[in-house]
């Protein structure tokens, strides 16, 4: 569902080292990027470019997979059969996105197992948004509307990312996300046209999700450590604050149409039509990234449980495949 700007400064130092080692190749590489050419898996690339992308794509994949949990929490309780089927299909799509993205990350030389192990060991991150709980059915509408909406805002520019496999994965993912976003908005519209209780449920969900969704775009530009290299490499085309502002500008009229109130009494519209939001509580963001969000422990525990309890199944599949290969070899030899 979502990739978040979480990289550290280490990338920049390594980038410079690589460049110094092989200035000619690096210059040629940068020239290709500047010419908007796509970099493909077998092409030469600086080690830091590979590392940055591996980290970003795998974080994105982990987010898709962990992101199945908060929505999956409502599959068994969806209020109608139509909603149940749509939600199940949506969560299944997220899983499919995770699979494409792991495949895209594998083209950079790390296996899915290594990447998943890093996540389960708590060494790799996933989007902070999935550490919040889904308490009511309106949360499912709100996630589709806002979380997928924010994801699209971030991922549309990634369709032009310099790394070919990631860019192509994003094209397909964005198509599905925009469908999810419309589906979420339609859930909200149904609630907002419903009973007072349903409207209150919708407002409550917006109240709880609004600020965490704004945090999805990552730290403010003034404190962001990593954007320069990613921008130079055309992995990132807009800053965190630019994307956040675009999202807010697109979302405010949608909330107004629903008759819901954005939980930001200080929000104003400036002369250019931009909706200016109040200061975001970055302490909360840092706490969630540090593992102290309301659901961090539950999410990791659920993923580890699935992984651990599934170990014997994966071992059985591997053992059977090996036996079968041996039998086929033996047969061929006869």
């Amino acid at each position: 569902m979502y990739t978040q700007a979480l990289n550290t400064a280490e990338t920049d130092d390594r980038g410079l080292e690589d460049a110094a080692k092989d200035a000619a190749k690096a210059a040629q590489f940068q020239a290709r990027i500047d010419a908007e050419e796509r970099i493909e898996p077998n092409d030469w690339m600086p080690a830091a470019y590979r590392k940055t992308l591996t980290r970003q794509i795998s974080q994105h994949a982990h987010s898709e997979i962990v992101g199945m949990l908060p929505e999956g929490n409502w599959i068994t309780r969806a209020p109608t059969l139509r909603r149940k089927a749509a939600l199940l299909a949506k969560v299944q799509d997220e899983c499919g996105h995770g699979l494409y993205l792991y495949a895209a990350a594998e083209t950079l030389g790390s296996s899915r197992e290594e990447l998943v192990d890093a996540m389960l060991a708590g060494k790799a991150k996933y989007s902070s948004i999935f550490n919040y709980p889904t308490l009511t059915w309106a949360d499912i509408g709100t996630i589709g509307w806002l979380v997928d909406g924010a994801a699209i805002m971030n991922q549309i520019p990634l369709c032009r990312c310099s790394y070919g496999p990631y860019a192509r994965a994003m094209i397909r993912v964005c198509k599905e996300e925009s469908f999810h976003q419309r589906q979420g908005y339609e859930i909200m519209l149904t609630l907002c046209r419903g009973s007072d209780e349903q409207k209150a449920m919708a407002q409550d969900a917006l109240d709880r999700w609004w600020w965490p969704v704004l945090m999805m775009f990552g730290p403010p530009d003034a404190t962001s450590q990593h954007s320069d290299t990613s921008t130079k490499w055309k992995i990132k085309r807009f800053s965190n604050d630019e994307l956040r502002q675009k999202f807010v500008d697109a979302t405010v009229p949608q909330a107004q149409y629903l008759g819901l109130t954005i939980p930001d009494p200080g929000m104003t519209q400036d002369a250019d039509g931009h909706w200016r939001y109040s200061e975001i509580d970055w302490t909360e963001f840092k706490q969630v990234l540090a593992g102290n969000g309301p659901c961090n422990r539950d999410r990791m525990a659920a993923r580890r449980k699935a992984h651990d309890e599934g170990a014997w199944v994966r071992e059985a599949a591997t053992a059977y495949a090996a036996k079968r290969a041996r039998r086929q070899t033996a047969q061929a030899a006869e």
């Binding site: 309780r77 209020p79 059969l81 299944q92 899983c95 699979l99 059915w137 309890e309 014997w312 059985a316």
Partner: protein
């Protein structure tokens, strides 16, 4: 919609559609419980896919049952406002997921039946049931292939997977007899060419099972005592818990549009 149980006029045809709809919904619901928790991402996808097919089948069959009944029930009332004694599904499909082996053996037993059942039902004189059958047959063939491949992998995989698969077969076997049972109402539908006699499918079903199970180095139980009751609303204790979760929104917020 109020939150009270609805009443259904269970004419033979309504009941016939309702029983198959309940099978599909309850099994689909069980499979959907795996979503996000499966042993590998490919199985999160596959089990969700099968669940979606089954929920789709349930929706068509509920809609048809409601139409035949001709009162103001619809797919959601039938799914969300009947209690455990009004549900008509097989005991097999309500059994808990257990481990992955239990889920796949349950699926294997059911899909090996559903595959040939729906194929035969394509010849039903009831145009709607024949149409549902034509779609469900294609889906069930894939479900059976998926489950069969897993039975072989688990049975012929490691000692642990073999033991788990055998335990699941032994545990679930007693719930398979109900698939082949027929009552008077269904017999009349069989005579009318609307339904097929499931008893005629048992030989084929058993051959499918034997072939796969023997390739998997597993064995079918000799025990032929079969549990019955699901078709008449006499369920295991598990179904009530499933329904309380499935129906919680409609029971808590009666009569609203979602």
């Amino acid at each position: 919609m109020s939150s009270a149980n609805i009443q259904v006029s269970e004419t033979p045809l309504v009941l016939y559609a309702l029983r198959r709809a309940d099978d599909a919904l309850i099994l689909g619901h069980r499979l959907s419980e795996w979503c996000g928790h499966a042993p590998m991402l490919e199985e999160d996808m596959a089990l969700s896919n099968i669940a979606l097919d089954l929920i789709g089948q349930a929706r068509e069959l509920y809609t048809y049952a409601a139409k035949v009944e001709g009162r103001d029930n619809d797919e959601d009332k039938l799914a969300y406002l009947r209690d455990v004694r009004q549900y008509r599904n097989l005991l097999l499909v309500e059994q808990p997921n257990g481990d992955f082996a239990q889920t796949l053996v349950r699926q294997f037993f059911y899909s090996a039946f559903a595959d040939i059942y729906w194929r035969a039902m394509m010849a039903s004189r009831d145009a709607t049931l024949a149409a549902v059958a034509a779609k469900s047959e294609k889906e069930s063939a894939y479900h059976l292939r998926h489950a069969s491949e897993w039975i072989v992998r688990l049975g012929d995989g490691t000692d642990e997977s073999h033991a788990r698969a055998q335990a699941a077969i032994d545990h679930l076997w007693a719930f398979t007899g109900e698939m082949f049972a027929v009552d008077d109402g269904e017999r009349a539908l069989i005579h009318a060419g609307i339904a097929i006699d499931p008893g005629t499918l048992r030989g084929h079903w058993l051959t499918t099972l034997s072939d796969v199970v023997s390739e998997a180095t597993l064995v079918l139980p000799q025990n032929d005592w079969m549990q019955q009751g699901g078709r008449y609303g006499r369920h295991s204790e598990h179904l009530g818990h499933l329904l309380s979760e499935l129906q919680s929104m409609q029971r808590t917020f009666p009569g609203l549009t979602w």
